[in-house]
C-alpha cells in the first residue's frame, strides 16, 4: 500500500519581480485558439549542482507546459545551434538574440542543490519576446521530495501568466486498472507520473470518485460478493464499507461540500439515485417512478444533480434539484446518452453518447444548448471527468486497442494518453487541486 504517499510537503515561493500590469495572452475560453510558442532555454546548475538535476527539472516543466495544451514548446533541441548551449537568465537588453528561435515567450531558469543535495532552490524568469520585456520571476525552495510538486507549481504560474488562470499541474487522476480477472484502483499525477496503487485486494474495484478534500476515494467493490460502495484513504488505509444494499451500490458522486454522497442503488432490476450522508447515515431515495436512474453528478454549487434515466425509453441525461424535485430532460439527440460529468465551472456537462454503434464524448450547456462533440476517432470514448478548472476533460478510450486514459482540452483539442501502458485503464476521476 501507499505508506508515505501523503508526505507533508512544505516549500516556499518568492516572487521577487512582477510585471507592472497583467496581460492575458491566450483566451482559452474561445472554441479554438492557437498555441503560444514558448522557448525553454537550457537551465543553469549553480555551484556544484549536477547538470542532470537541471535536466530533470527542465524535463518535468517541459512536459507540464506541453500537457497544458496552451503552448507550442520550443525546447533546446529545437533551437538554432548557436542558442542551444546558452543557459541561465538573459538580461532584457539581449532578448532580441532569441527572435530567430521563433518564440513569443521565453522561459529561463536556474537550479541549486543545498544541504548535501537534500534541499533545492529553483528560480525561473518569464520574458515577453514580442514586447521585449520581463514578465515575472519566481523562486521555489523545499526538500527534495517536494521537487515534482514545486515544478508543477511553477508550470501553474506560467499558465496563470499566459491565460489569466493558474494551471492544474498539482492535481491527480484516479482510475480503475484491469489486473488478472479483477480491477484495482490507481492514482497518478496530472502528467501521468507518480502512479500509486490504492486498492490491492484482487477483487473487482470500479468507478472511483474523489472526496472534495482529496483525502478519500469512494468506489464499488465485490469484496463481499455484492457490488457494495466503499470509502478508502488515498494511501490505501481505512477501508470502510459504506453502502451495501443487496444489489447495486455504484457510481458515487461527492457533494461539493463533502457532506453527502449521491449514488445509484439497484435492486430487483430497478435502480434509483440515493443520497447518503458521508458518515453513513440518513439514506434517502431521490428518484421515484418507473424509470431506471444512474450515474449522478453534482453541480458545483451543490444545488442540482445531473443523472441518467431511461424513463423516456432510452438512456438520457436529466437534471434535478438536490431534493429530487424539478426534474428536466437535458439531452434530446441520440438514443443512448450516459456518464454525465458536471464542469466545476458550472456552465457545461460532459457525457458519453452513442453514435453509429460507437461511444463519443460530448459537452452540452446546462440549459441544453450548445451541444458539441469532442471525439470522432474510430474507438469508444467513455467516462468523461473534468479538471478542477474546467479546462480539461479526462476520459477512457480504446482508440489504440485496449482501453487507456486520455486527456483533452475542453474544446476537444490536444487529445493525448495520460500514461503509456499496455492498456486496461478505465473510469478516470479528476481530483481537485492539492494546495
Amino acid at each position: 500500500m501507499l505508506k508515505h504517499f501523503l508526505i507533508f510537503i512544505s516549500f516556499f515561493t518568492f516572487s521577487f519581480i512582477s510585471s507592472s500590469e497583467a496581460r492575458v495572452y491566450l483566451d482559452i475560453n474561445a472554441p479554438t485558439f492557437v498555441q503560444i510558442p514558448i522557448i525553454l532555454t537550457k537551465w543553469k546548475s549553480m555551484d556544484k549542482t549536477p547538470p542532470s538535476f537541471s535536466e530533470k527539472v527542465y524535463e518535468i516543466l517541459a512536459k507540464d507546459l506541453t500537457l497544458s495544451g496552451f503552448f507550442k514548446v520550443i525546447d533546446v533541441h529545437h533551437l538554432p545551434l548557436t542558442l542551444q548551449e546558452r543557459e541561465g537568465v538573459p538580461n532584457t537588453a539581449s532578448l532580441q538574440e532569441w527572435i530567430p528561435a521563433g518564440g513569443e515567450i521565453l522561459l529561463a531558469g536556474e537550479t541549486l542543490l543545498e544541504s548535501g543535495g537534500l534541499n533545492f532552490k529553483l528560480k525561473f524568469h518569464l520574458f515577453d519576446l514580442v514586447e521585449q520585456k520581463h514578465v515575472i520571476g519566481k523562486q521555489y525552495e523545499g526538500p527534495l521530495q517536494a521537487l515534482r510538486s514545486a515544478v508543477h507549481r511553477m508550470a501553474d504560474e506560467v499558465v496563470l501568466q499566459i491565460t489569466g488562470e493558474k494551471g492544474v499541474h498539482n492535481t491527480k487522476i484516479a482510475y480503475a486498472v484491469l489486473q488478472g480477472t479483477g480491477k484495482e484502483i490507481f492514482i497518478s499525477d496530472f502528467d501521468g507520473a507518480n502512479v500509486k496503487q490504492v486498492t490491492q485486494n484482487q477483487s473487482i474495484n470500479l468507478s472511483p470518485a474523489w472526496s472534495p478534500d482529496g483525502k478519500k476515494i469512494a468506489f464499488t467493490s465485490y469484496l463481499k460478493r455484492n457490488p457494495d460502495l466503499y470509502l478508502i484513504d488515498v494511501d490505501g488505509k481505512n477501508l470502510q464499507r459504506f453502502s451495501y444494499y443487496p444489489g447495486l451500490n455504484v457510481s458515487p458522486s461527492w457533494s461539493p461540500d463533502g457532506k453527502k454522497i449521491a449514488l445509484m442503488i439497484g435492486m430487483e432490476g430497478k435502480s434509483d439515485i440515493f443520497l447518503i450522508d458521508t458518515n453513513g447515515g440518513n439514506p434517502r431515495r431521490l428518484t421515484k417512478g418507473h424509470g431506471n436512474e444512474a450515474s449522478p453528478t453534482w453541480s458545483p454549487d451543490g444545488e442540482s444533480i445531473a443523472f441518467v434515466s431511461d424513463r423516456s425509453g432510452s438512456p438520457q441525461i436529466y437534471i434535478m434539484a438536490r431534493d429530487g424535485t424539478n426534474i428536466r430532460r437535458l439531452t434530446f439527440e441520440g438514443s443512448y446518452n450516459t456518464n454525465p460529468s458536471w464542469s466545476p465551472k458550472g456552465d457545461r456537462i460532459a457525457f458519453c453518447g452513442r453514435v453509429e454503434g460507437r461511444f463519443h464524448i460530448f459537452t452540452i450547456g446546462g440549459d441544453g444548448s450548445g451541444l458539441r462533440r469532442m471525439t470522432s476517432n474510430p474507438g469508444n470514448n467513455e467516462s468523461p471527468s473534468w479538471s478542477p478548472d474546467g479546462r480539461y476533460i479526462a476520459f477512457s478510450s480504446n482508440r489504440t486497442g485496449a482501453s487507456k486514459i486520455f486527456i483533452m482540452n475542453a474544446n476537444g483539442f490536444n487529445q493525448r494518453v495520460l500514461t503509456p501502458s499496455k492498456g486496461g485503464e478505465s473510469s478516470p476521476a479528476w481530483s481537485r487541486r492539492f494546495e
Binding site: 477483487s203 470500479l206 465485490y222 457490488p227 444489489g247 450516459t338 467513455e382
Partner: protein
C-alpha cells in the same frame, strides 16, 4: 402301467386338482399375485431410489467448488445448470431459452435444499454503470422466470457483474453473444 391307465390317472389327477382348486380359487390365485405386485413395487422403489441416488450422485459429481480471489465465500458450479442468453441491450427471456430454464427449475425442484445465485453478465459494449444495471435486470428476469416455474424466491439471489467478467475476452460478435448471459452458481447444497 398301460397307456390307457396312465391317461386315466392323469385325468383323475387333473380332475382332482381342478376339484381341489376350484373352491379355493380366489385364495390360491390371489396369493402369488399380491406378492408379485408388492415385490414389483419394492423393486420399483428400489430402482427409483437407485436412480435418484445415481442422479444425486451425478448432480453431486457435477458440482465444482469455485473460489474467486477478492470475492468472499465459496460457491459451486454444476454442468447440469445451464446458462441462458440475451439479445444485445435486452433482458427479457428468449423463447429459445425457456427449455433451459425449465430444466434448471426441474433440477431445483429435485433438490429443495439447493440455493442458487443468478449472475447477470453483459458484453463489453456500453459504459460500466449501464452494464451493471443491465446485468442486474438480466439476473432478475431470470430469477422471476424460475419463480413463475414454482421455485421459491428465497432460494434465488441475484448479482450483476455487468461487463466485468466476460466468458470470452474477444472483441467480436461471437464473444459478445457468449458473454450476454445469466449464469448460475450454487450457494447452498
Amino acid at each position: 402301467m398301460t397307456r390307457k391307465s396312465l391317461t386315466i390317472t392323469i385325468l383323475i389327477l387333473c380332475l382332482g386338482l381342478i376339484m381341489i382348486g376350484c373352491p379355493k380359487k380366489p385364495v390360491v390365485r390371489e396369493e402369488p399375485s399380491a406378492k408379485k405386485e408388492e415385490a414389483a413395487k419394492i423393486e420399483a422403489e428400489r430402482m427409483a431410489k437407485e436412480r435418484e441416488s445415481k442422479a444425486k450422485e451425478e448432480f453431486e459429481k457435477s458440482l465444482v467448488a469455485k473460489r474467486t480471489p477478492g470475492i468472499e465465500g465459496e460457491v459451486f458450479e454444476s454442468s447440469l445448470l445451464k446458462d441462458n442468453h440475451f439479445d444485445f441491450d435486452k433482458y427479457d427471456i428468449r423463447p429459445k431459452d425457456v427449455a433451459i430454464l425449465r430444466e434448471n427449475a426441474a433440477l431445483l425442484k429435485k433438490y429443495p435444499k439447493v440455493k442458487i445465485q443468478i449472475e447477470g453478465h453483459c458484453d463489453e459494449r456500453g459504459t460500466v454503470e449501464y452494464n451493471l444495471a443491465l446485468g442486474e435486470r438480466r439476473a432478475t428476469s431470470t430469477k422471476n422466470y424460475l419463480v413463475s416455474l414454482g421455485i421459491s424466491a428465497d432460494r434465488l439471489s441475484t448479482i450483476s457483474y455487468g461487463k466485468e467478467r466476460p466468458l470470452d475476452p474477444g472483441h467480436n460478435e461471437e464473444a459478445w453473444t457468449k458473454n450476454r448471459r445469466a449464469h448460475t452458481v450454487i450457494t447452498a447444497k
